[in-house]
Amino acid sequence: MSATVRLSVNGQPVEVPAGASVAAAMAHVTLHFRRSVSGTARAPLCGMGVCFECRVNIDGVPHVRACMTPVIEGMQVRTDD
């Protein structure tokens, strides 16, 4: 349980415990996961893959739910602004 994984969130390095979600890793950097259609900042709501508020770009793939995605070493995560 002590192993850690390093990834990048909007270009900023983050280190989190192995098994953490991308959402959890991102929260170390920003609480603004996406901009809504009218431009307001959003962050995870349900924490379990239902609400899609946490969707981000992971390794070039857009609209991936951060709460459903475990971190992988070297992952590149980007929010949409």
């Binding site: 989190v16 098994g19 959402a23 609480l31 962050a43 459903m68």
Partner: protein, 425 residues
């Protein structure tokens, strides 16, 4: 790619884990599908910092010959088959019998400020904390309704959060009457006692609810209405949830009949957990909110039934009856205060995907016409959040499920088994 199973189980929470293990013990080839990376569902969700409870570890390690298909999301159905999507591919899984153990999600009700970053579900915040969300030293308010609030608060505390208080909307008399009934369920009484011990020093308020949340770009303050008036509290995170609603979308797509329990549908099953569709069974929360013990016993019943062992399933019926009565007790004692249904005002966003306000939904009496005109329910969550909230608010019931069950890649629907590289998105 097509893979054949005797029995497929959807959902690797307590019900699905038990169903899969039970069915496999009869010699069936069993696939256990789950969208998460780790088995356990919500109640036994993997925690990056703490060990899972003993029963959870036993259920997971006891899977034996069961093929655990993690990070598999069911997106569409075909005759006797499910189309699933994985992070890097898709496939078709065929079955002779199917067990739906799709669990539940939180009932989230709109109020001014509920879209602010820092506002989450109560179970939602618990799930995020277990995922490694940084909560240590954070000032957290837990609110909403039901015993889940205590479990969420205990997890938050174990992860180092400063839990300022738990705000339960049900009146003190109602919660105390519920607690007295726990004498009939000694295991639950012990669990409740354990939670209260772990939460020593955390105030537990009754007849209290969150009226609004505010902050500059992220949450900084919540307004609370209680029996002795209103107050404001500064905090970093708010976890607020009003109990659970069954996940029925997949069952609906498969043509299984639903029944309404209050404002929300559940999968219709008979005592032996048969749905209205031959060869499809539903276990646990999908068939109505009942809690962990219901999920485990029903998982066992459904596992036997899916393997054609009706006699073994029938022997478990008295246990099921007793545990199911607990669910009725929950909904009775934690019934929602009608004031919670008028927290959202005309400017409050209801559909968070398409930013549709409650005011824009005035005059619509069904989900379909509201969607056609306002786009409400048309976004990525497919109306799971707003549709459920609007049903609870008494505006209109949810739309029927249509494929795909979850947003999916075109390649998945086209039947491609591996996805093109990310450059092609």
């Amino acid at each position: 790619m097509t893979e054949r199973y005797d029995i497929l189980v959807v959902g690797a929470g307590p019900a699905g884990l038990t169903a899969a293990r039970t069915a496999a013990a009869h010699g069936a080839r069993v696939g256990l599908i789950d969208a998460q990376a780790q088995p356990g569902g919500q109640v036994w969700r993997h925690d990056v910092r703490h060990h899972a409870p003993r029963e959870a570890r036993a259920a997971i390690s006891g899977l034996g010959q069961v093929e655990l298909l993690s990070q598999h999301t069911v997106v569409a159905v075909e005759p006797s088959a499910l189309r699933v999507e994985m992070p890097r591919g898709a496939s078709e899984l065929r079955y002779d019998a199917l067990v739906l153990a799709t669990g539940a999600r939180e009932l989230l009700l709109p109020f001014p400020g509920w879209t602010l970053p820092g506002v989450t579900g109560a179970g939602g915040l618990q799930a995020l904390a277990k995922q490694g969300w940084p909560v240590a030293g954070k000032r957290v308010v837990i609110a909403g309704s039901g015993p889940l609030l205590l479990a969420a608060a205990a997890t938050l505390r174990a992860h180092g959060a400063h839990v300022l208080g738990i705000y339960e909307q049900a009146a003190a008399a109602s919660v105390h009457a519920f607690a007295r009934q726990l004498v009939h369920w000694p295991a639950k009484a012990m669990q409740a006692l354990g939670l209260r011990t772990r939460l020593a020093g955390v105030p537990y308020h009754f007849g209290s609810f969150i009226r609004g949340a505010s902050g500059d770009d992220t949450l900084s303050r919540v307004d609370i209405e209680g029996p002795r008036g209103s107050q404001s509290i500064e905090c970093d995170m708010l976890g607020v949830g009003y109990g659970l609603v069954p996940n029925v979308e997949l069952a609906q797509l498969l043509g299984c009949a639903l029944v309404h329990q209050g404002a929300h549908p559940r999968v219709q099953v008979d005592a032996l957990l048969r749905t209205s569709v031959s060869g499809i069974y539903a276990a646990g929360e999908a068939g109505g909110i009942g809690g962990l013990a219901v999920a485990r016993i029903e998982g066992e019943i459904a596992g036997h039934m899916a393997a054609g062992q009706t006699q073994a399933a029938t022997a478990l019926l008295p246990m099921r009856g007793k545990e199911r009565r607990f669910g009725a007790l929950l909904s009775h004692h934690f019934a929602l205060d009608p004031r919670l249904l008028s927290l959202a005002n005309a400017q409050t966003l209801i559909c968070r995907c398409e930013d549709v306000t409650l005011g824009e939904l005035d005059g619509f009496s069904d989900a379909r016409s509201a969607k056609l005109v306002t786009r409400c329910g048309m976004g990525a969550c497919q109306g799971r959040i707003c549709g459920t909230a609007l049903a609870e608010l008494g505006r209109f019931p949810r739309n029927g499920a249509r494929p795909p069950v979850f947003p999916t890649r075109l390649a998945t629907l086209a039947g491609l088994t591996t996805f093109p590289s990310s450059d092609d998105y």
